[in-house]
Symmetry: none
Subunit: 456 residues, 2 copies
């Protein structure tokens, strides 16, 4: 009997570790490691130190690697030179939290029964601790695998130093596969294993037609209206109702979604009504679950994030404004390339309105990984063993810049074994996690590590 399949032993280990797990989780959540707020730098640094100490306490090697931004904490539980190696990625920085909007203080973790309340509990400190406890167990029981840890502290600000960090530490992080535990199931009833992420190309569109706002009585009809011209431009770049992007060439490199994928998407438990309720949307562009899940996970988008121009006070001020600006982005899917998409957009914008200024903002490549083959099989079997349900293979609609860097630099298969649930309030107020997912995560990773140890 393998150590992982001795489920009762792993369960007993998890149960015994619970008090310590909770102690560590509380200590970590109580550190407000918000990477978006430079004034919380000392909390980030304390978080790095805590992670370092945690590795040391487990008998792992540990290093706090400096970068041009916040450090990355790395370490290893080494088995032997000949054993396969896995890199586990988590991040220990968190989203900001406005305490006034929360039921409980976001940075003073509370335990209510099985539930852990606080910023970072589910994203990503809780899952990180589950992986860590599983790794300790596997290591202690001699599972022939080397487990390397990559704990980032800048994920929530788009991993600005991570690519450079990986290049500099490529050899230390050499491995056979990567596992990321930072994704969300579609419903508690069924584990999800995403294998794709969307990319992103953000831009600013700005149109200035005069030096100052002028009076619409005096100038209206002759003066150009920059808000209206920008509105017209946006309406020509994509169809607001269907969402269809009209930029020539935009879809050329979109990899077709196959029927299997769509079937898996829906099998994940994806449900349009739940989606609307969770996001408080009055209606959506479609109610068909296949089409809806494809739209958020596997199709590219055009989005207007904000628009300004003219008078924004009470009532109506009859001016012709002198400028308008829109913040837009396109979510991209394999095999779209942000650089090329930006060039297509720029050409079309200038063709439609040569006076519009276009500025490139953030950019992330889309990602697609294996959803068949030995690693996918290991993930499926481990999920099933830990949670008693076969997982659905899905994609994620968001972007994780670190993943694209790991794919490029480490060059190995990346699997996503997340533990977060929709009701955990990922990136939202009243974020939480729970022992069911935490302990399930320990079982999941013990099992997964053992399966990985057999992939040669």
């Amino acid at each position: 009997m393998s150590i992982a399949t001795d489920l009762s032993a792993v369960r007993a280990y998890a149960a015994e570790s619970r008090a310590e797990y909770e102690k560590h989780l509380k200590a970590m959540v109580d550190l407000a490691s918000v990477s978006m707020q430079p004034e919380l730098k000392d909390q980030i640094e304390a978080m790095g130190q805590y992670a370092y100490d945690l590795l040391k306490s487990a008998g792992a090697t540990a290093t706090i690697v400096k970068t041009k931004g916040y450090p990355v904490v790395i370490g290893e539980l080494h088995h032997s030179k000949d054993a396969p190696t896995v890199c586990v990625y988590n991040h220990l920085d968190v989203q900001p939290a406005d305490a006034s909007e929360w039921v409980k203080a976001p940075f003073d973790m509370q335990i209510e029964g099985d539930k852990y309340l606080g910023r970072g509990t589910t994203d990503d400190k809780g899952p990180m601790l589950s992986v860590f406890y599983a790794a300790k167990y596997a290591h202690k029981h001699g599972v022939p695998i080397n487990i390397k840890f990559i704990w980032e502290l800048e994920e929530e600000i788009g991993s600005p130093s991570f690519h450079e960090f990986l290049q500099a530490n490529k050899d230390a992080l050499a491995c056979d596969s990567v596992v990321v535990s930072d994704t969300i199931w579609v419903s508690r009833a069924r584990p999800a294993v995403p294998y794709g992420l969307r990319g992103l190309q953000a831009c600013l569109l700005k149109l200035k037609t005069g030096a100052k706002d002028v009076h619409s009585g005096t100038t209206g009809g002759l003066a150009r209206n920059p808000i209206a011209e920008l509105a017209e431009l946006i309406s020509r770049l994509f169809d607001a109702h269907s969402g269809e992007v009209k930029i020539p060439g935009f879809y050329d490199r979109v990899r077709p979604i196959d029927e299997d994928e769509l079937t898996n998407f829906v099998a994940s438990g994806f449900n349009v009504d739940n989606f609307k309720m969770a996001h408080e949307l009055k209606s959506t562009r479609t109610d068909d679950p296949r089409e809806a899940s494809a739209r958020i996970w596997a199709k590219p988008t055009f989005e207007v994030h904000g628009i300004t121009g003219g008078y924004s006070g009470t009532g109506v001020k009859t001016i012709v404004p002198c400028q308008s600006e829109a913040k837009i982005s396109m979510r991209l899917v394999p095999d779209q390339d942000p650089e090329q998409i930006f060039e297509l957009l720029k050409a079309e914008v200038l063709r439609l309105n040569a006076d519009v200024e276009i500025t490139k903002e953030g950019s992330l490549k889309p990602y697609i990984g294996p959803f068949k083959g030995p690693f996918a099989d290991a993930a499926r079997e481990a999920m099933k063993a830990a949670f008693d349900v076969e997982p659905a293979f899905t994609r994620e609609g968001g972007s994780i810049g670190a993943v694209v860097s790991m794919q490029e630099i480490l060059g190995k298969p990346i699997m996503f074994l997340g533990l977060s649930l929709p009701e955990h309030g990922y990136h939202a107020i009243n974020e939480n996690f729970d022992w069911t997912q935490a302990s399930g995560g320990i079982r999941l990773f013990v099992d997964y590590f053992e399966r990985l140890s057999k992939i040669r």
Copy 2:
């Protein structure tokens, strides 16, 4: 020799009055009588009191007439029962001003040589004071005319109480003609006497598609984008490049412009390059002067005055916003009717996007008056006497709701003798006025009052 044609005496009077004129103008401009901002109510009230005191100081009768909104200050310099009576209309409320955009503080009038800088200097406090000084002079010198003053405090919000006020005070304001001094010349080189005004129908368009902003990674492609839908709607209501309104039936009641009018328009000194320079516009929808002048004076428009929605901070925040709002208006020309135009717009908006909420804001009928006959002759001659150049008869692209009410209720010819120039920044930042126009205005009205006294 008539008193008015003794130009040197009137010039001397104006010169002697200059210091006092400037003192009063500064006191009035320093009162931020912004009718659009309810929190500035006390400034409006102080403005009414100041106007009342001014009338009293000139020996005129004066009353602050309460309305359902802000009061109207009226008064009279009475000559005799048998003399003709003129009502002079000005307004003493002003447009809002965002101090951060101005070179000098908008509500702390500065004098730089001949120039007066501040909100309300040209619209309409400066011209009001010129009329007032001319009236005092004519009265003192026994010109046989009764001069009634109507000083409104709600013009910039579309005169919501003025109609009712006129109905209630119809007898007190009985007269033989009305003169309005609140219009703009086409160029400093040539006085303009407008005989037509555009009307207006303003509205808010609002679209709410969810209860909160959501993450575009998680929801993008499926969630509706209210900014984009509003942009698309606007682009279907009118062509941002040509300005052509696409609402069915919109042009049905537009009165054709005759060739004579177009010829007069261009003869006013209207020049597209000057127009661009004065309003600091990079380019205009046409460069043909006939078409250009018709567009601003005699053709209806569709305008977007402001738009909001989503994230407006630095950079790009990848949200799908939950709502967007646009402030729009249509300038109308004879014989378009605001009520009917609103109904046409509403039907088209709901046909195109049934979720958009449309709210009616200010509404003003278009106006057309005499440009031939004794009053037009008096205006022409007075302008010529005061400024040495024969005026051009034009129209104004703006709207003065009070004018339509005065036409309906007082039922007498209305003439427009304005003093503002394109470079005065009417309704714009850095609004200003100058002594050349102010003193010319005093000469103009002394002459005009004397001519009116002879029209029986």
